[in-house]
């Protein structure tokens, strides 16, 4: 008997969560620009509010266009469902706020996107949630940092700025031994390069603004539940395993064996914090996801060519890309990221901040801005932009040198990119 085939990644990228509109026959995903949805009758309304029927009530809580994005990303990740949010930052906040509150504690990788670091380091402490940061490669430090009030371990698949590869199998094992879930920011890798649930992660989120959208036109986030974590057995999450007075006394774990987290996140987090995505943004991100496999292949191909070129230049001090044998996570990357290590990486120019500035200003194809994951190639020089107030010593502590340049390699002709980098390297020499 031949085993049945389930749809593969490329096909799911185009079809999961959507079919031609049953009323109009529209093939593309319709943008449902409506705040609210008509009830069939009073009983239907009550049933929707009480989660006796599935359906839409108000677009802050759910919307048909947003639902396609949510179900598609959940399918690509191998999760049980997802919630689309106003941004990647909103997705991180929703994840933390759903299971942590005043008196809670998070253990996080030190190698984080600056916005995530700000949220955990400065903002959440005002609400009673503390974070201990650890070096992502230091497994003993992860374990040691866990406290009785810890609710979550958190890291990025590829950390900022040195592309530290998160050892998801080992960190998730530490989390699970402590009856805690592991949350992973998979923005830099997308499910095309790495599916964190396959390696032990429990929750995944994306800044969909980046590679999922790919076009740099829409801000959005997606939080995905792998459905693997047993909140009841953990005993540390009454938010999910005891009746919630804020929603009909619902015990979310009792209601759904595999999706208690998502139920609470939607019924509380989206409802009360309200960081919902616009259906227009969902549509735009879905347009990007349709070509995600093709784009990620090209992103990686172009990145490999750029890395190879830069590695031969005398003006380049070092390159942090895990496919290089010199990277400390090279072996781990071969195991977790066989399709490639993404399209964002940093390298160090020889010289001072001025050399970095000259490099940036000589580029013509790369765009100088604060984003990554665009179809267009992007560049930033942290020492003269995002981190310009910091001394060289403070920069060094953050793993950033005066000549550190971060590139996000796009989909242009790779020879044009290399020519552009050559020109900038010549200019950097002064």
């Amino acid at each position: 008997m031949a085993a049945p085939r389930s749809l593969q990644f490329d096909t799911l990228s185009l079809h999961a969560g959507q079919r031609p509109d049953p009323v109009t026959g529209a093939r593309a995903v319709p943008i449902y620009f409506t705040t609210s949805f008509v009830f069939r009758d009073a009983d239907h309304a009550a049933a929707l509010f009480n989660m006796e029927r599935g359906g839409h009530v108000y677009s802050r809580i759910s919307n048909p266009t947003n639902a396609v994005l949510e179900e598609r990303v959940a399918a690509l990740e191998g999760g049980v469902g997802a919630i689309a949010t106003a941004s990647g930052q909103a997705a991180l906040h929703l994840a933390v706020a759903t299971i942590a509150g005043a008196g809670s504690h998070v253990v996080a990788s030190r190698a984080l996107y600056g916005g995530s670091h700000n949220l955990l380091s400065y903002t959440l402490p005002r609400f009673g949630i503390e974070t201990t940061f650890v070096a992502p490669r230091d497994l003993a430090a992860w374990k040691k940092a866990i406290r009785p009030n810890t609710k979550l371990l958190f890291g990025e698949t590829l950390g900022n700025p040195g592309l530290d590869v998160l050892d998801i199998p080992s960190v998730s094992a530490i989390a699970h031994a402590a009856k805690l879930p592991l949350l992973v920011d998979a923005t830099f890798t997308t499910p095309y390069l790495l599916k964190p649930f396959d390696h032990g992660a429990d929750l995944v989120y994306h800044s969909a603004t980046k590679f999922l959208g790919g076009h740099g036109v829409a801000i959005g986030g997606v939080l995905v539940d792998g459905g693997t974590f047993d909140w009841e057995a953990s005993g540390k999450f009454p938010e999910l395993t005891e009746p919630y007075a804020g929603f009909h006394g619902m015990d979310f774990q009792e209601e759904s064996t595999v999706a208690a987290f998502l139920l609470r996140a939607r019924r509380e987090g989206l409802r009360d914090f309200g960081a919902c995505i616009s259906p227009a943004s969902s549509f735009q991100i879905l347009q990007g996801i349709e070509t995600l496999p093709l784009r990620m292949q090209r992103h990686v191909e172009n990145t490999r060519k750029a890395v190879e070129f830069l590695s031969k230049q005398t003006a380049v001090e070092s390159i942090a890309y895990p496919e290089l044998p010199s990277h400390p996570d090279h072996e781990l990357a071969k195991k977790l990221l066989p399709r490639g290590c993404g399209a964002v990486f940093s390298f160090d120019l020889k010289g001072d901040r001025a050399a970095g500035r000259r490099f940036i200003e000589a580029l013509r194809v790369f765009s100088h801005l604060a984003n990554v994951g665009d179809a267009k190639s992007l560049v930033i020089h942290p020492a003269s932009t995002t981190h310009f107030r910091m001394s060289d010593a403070a920069l060094a502590e953050a793993g950033i040198g005066p000549g550190t340049i971060r590139l996000s390699i796009g989909l242009e002709d790779p020879d044009d990119l290399i020519e552009d980098l050559s020109r900038a390297l010549r200019a950097a020499k002064g």
Binding site: G17, G54, H56, P64, A67, E70, T228, T257, V258, A259
Partner: protein, 264 residues
């Protein structure tokens, strides 16, 4: 709600309201390698519309203790023991797949206790191919993949279950993976070994609803209709574009059909 049934801890979801044995009782019985949560929307609806709901985790599944029951006959006996434990004198039974056979057997053997039966995604015989049965024993992961693919008819569900944003196919797979090792094979062997479907069907005295999926590749609708013809008072409702996971793929249509049937 936690009960003790046949000597073991038994968990039943009561739909978000306390169980009241004075109300008409409805027992929801899940299929193989699943638990009460497949009925989340329907069980919650009936609990808030005048019924006392018992959405069970069969022994060895979900939160219930004990070993998985080895036969459909044993499941039928366990359901009656559950009614006794809950102090429910009579009940309607709603069963899916393996649970539908348990409901059929129970109704035939206990006509005084069972007022109606709704059988979803059902067929008789419910034979399991030797390859799949073998896979349930020693290659659970492969078996889960096969069952999940055969259980769904589409890659988009409106509304999704239990609500927008849930990936029905992924959730069904994960629910199977969350069950204890051994339950899958016990369940599928019980279905495969059930031999008395037509005789029991002829003995059923209460009204029976057969709710079938037109695209069901696990329990084809024609095999469900064959069984329905053997029940004296049966109604067949076939849902277009629905596969075996009827509650996941067509939650509203399933609920509407059950409401009409149980209120009749």
């Amino acid at each position: 709600m936690d009960l003790r049934v046949a000597g073991n801890a038994a968990y039943v979801y009561t739909g978000g309201k306390a169980f009241d044995p004075k109300l008409p009782a409805v027992v929801f019985i899940h299929g193989g390698e699943q638990d009460h949560s497949v009925w989340a929307l329907q069980s919650r609806y009936f609990a808030h519309h005048g019924y006392a709901v018992l959405a069970v985790d069969l022994p060895g599944h979900g939160r219930s203790g004990g070993a998985p029951l080895a036969s459909i006959d044993d499941m039928a006996g366990w359901i009656v023991a559950l009614l006794d434990a809950a102090k429910a004198s009579t009940a309607a039974l709603v069963g899916h797949s393996m649970g539908s056979l348990a409901a059929l057997e129970c109704a035939a053997r206990h006509p005084q206790r069972i007022s109606r039966i709704a059988l979803l995604g059902t067929a008789f015989p419910m034979r399991v191919s030797p390859d799949l049965l073998q896979a349930t024993k020693n290659r659970e992961s492969d078996a889960h993949g096969m069952i999940n693919t055969w259980s769904h008819s589409a890659y988009a569900h409106y509304p999704s279950n239990p609500g927008p944003g849930f990936w029905v196919i992924g959730a069904n797979l994960r629910l199977m993976q969350r069950q204890r090792p051994g339950a899958l094979h016990a369940d599928f062997a019980a279905c495969d070994g059930y031999r008395t479907g037509f005789e029991r069907a002829a003995q059923v005295k209460c009204p029976a609803l057969f709710l079938l999926g037109a695209r069901d590749a696990m329990t084809p609708a024609r095999a469900g209709r064959d069984l329905a013809r053997a029940v004296p008072d049966s109604t067949v409702v076939t849902l277009d574009s629905a596969g075996h996971n009827l509650m996941g793929e067509k939650p509203d249509e399933v609920l509407d059909a059950l409401v009409e049937f149980l209120r009749a």
